[in-house]
Symmetry: C2
Subunit: 179 residues, 2 copies
DNA sequence: GTCGACATGTAAATTGTTACATGATTTA
DNA sequence: TAAATCATGTAACAATTTACATGTCGAC
């Protein structure tokens, strides 16, 4: 009864397969040994999701045997590209910035440098705006906060300053790379 | 059929009520206008959770009327304190650092300064360890990464460096506060 | 020959969110 | 008096995760 809407997990799996075909188990290893979206590497997470992608013709297996690697289809690639090129919203920057980084992480083979640069630039600009809002709120409200709550809020500030720092660093790197 | 396990949302609600009694609607306002754990402020999120806390005697309403504020019970406070004093694990630092900051955010009225300091110190030390692991991985593997993937990984590095920076800043502040 | 890693699978539970519904009370 | 906001509620859904089950295959 798995729905056929494309979830973050689905995009993550497609993103992984976009650079290299892998078996279900190999994918689980990646999830287990890296942070990758903080998804569980357990079988119940990976295998049903891969099956669903297969049913939707976003991935395919050449062979029927176990261990048969999944490879992304052109349809799958198309969907990823659509994901990559969705305009970044202020909401996403405020609520799910990690998803934006995830999106960026898989862009290597499917989009050209200008688009990557546009993506990071837009991200940076929205982060700047959001940071101003946070700082303004901080200035006005933080006086009323008890110490720990205030510090927790400041954690958020530092967090977004990190996003900004990364954006600038990433842009510099992208501009110095010949794609 | 809501289970009676205490979820992150439950702790967040208790945390909010620990400093001040509020009605369900007032709590929704907080969720709507601040980031607070990124939970939805929709009625379907807040009201059932509050009902559950009431059934578990972790909060109470003096009056039966609508708008009646919820206040945390001693039992609720006890549970929060248990949450606050759970030892921080390496796993939490690697997978859910935001939950640790959330925990810290509510500590003001229920725990004394030494415990807050111990909490941040432990957090900082585990962040340091994790950062070393990340950097070591980066040194060994990043060469094999394509540009965007490499940058995404470096985002993680900056992120944890932010945690470290915050920890040090927070410790300084805590030591200069007379609680 | 058995113990651990390889490899896949599914049912049930968990945790929250969306969408819808309902009525009171302000405000314009 | 119409529209907006206040205020609470619930049923259905969504997105994973947990826990269990099953068999293979190599190492010791």
């Amino acid at each position: 009864m798995t729905s056929s809407r494309i979830t973050v997990l689905d995009y993550t799996l497609l993103g992984l397969l976009q650079s290299e075909s892998r078996s279900g188990y190999a994918i689980r290893q990646v999830f287990e040994h890296t942070a990758l979206g903080n998804f569980s590497s357990s079988p119940g997470t990976i295998y049903p999701a891969l099956k669903k992608l297969k049913k939707l013709h976003l991935v395919r297996q050449e062979s029927q045997e176990k261990k048969a690697p999944y490879q992304i289809t052109n349809q799958g690639k198309g969907l990823l590209i659509k994901w990559f090129t969705q305009p970044i919203t202020k909401e996403e920057v405020a609520k799910t910035p990690h998803l934006l980084i995830l999106r960026f992480a898989f862009m290597d083979h499917l989009v050209k440098k200008p688009l990557k640069i546009a993506f990071v630039t837009r991200f940076r600009d929205l982060v700047k705006v959001y940071l101003l809002e946070l700082k303004s709120f901080h200035k006005q409200q933080a006086i009323h906060f008890p110490p720990a709550a205030k510090l927790a809020f400041e954690h958020g500030l530092i967090h977004y300053e990190g996003h900004l720092k990364w954006s600038n660093q990433a842009l510099k790197t992208l501009l110095n790379t010949k794609d």
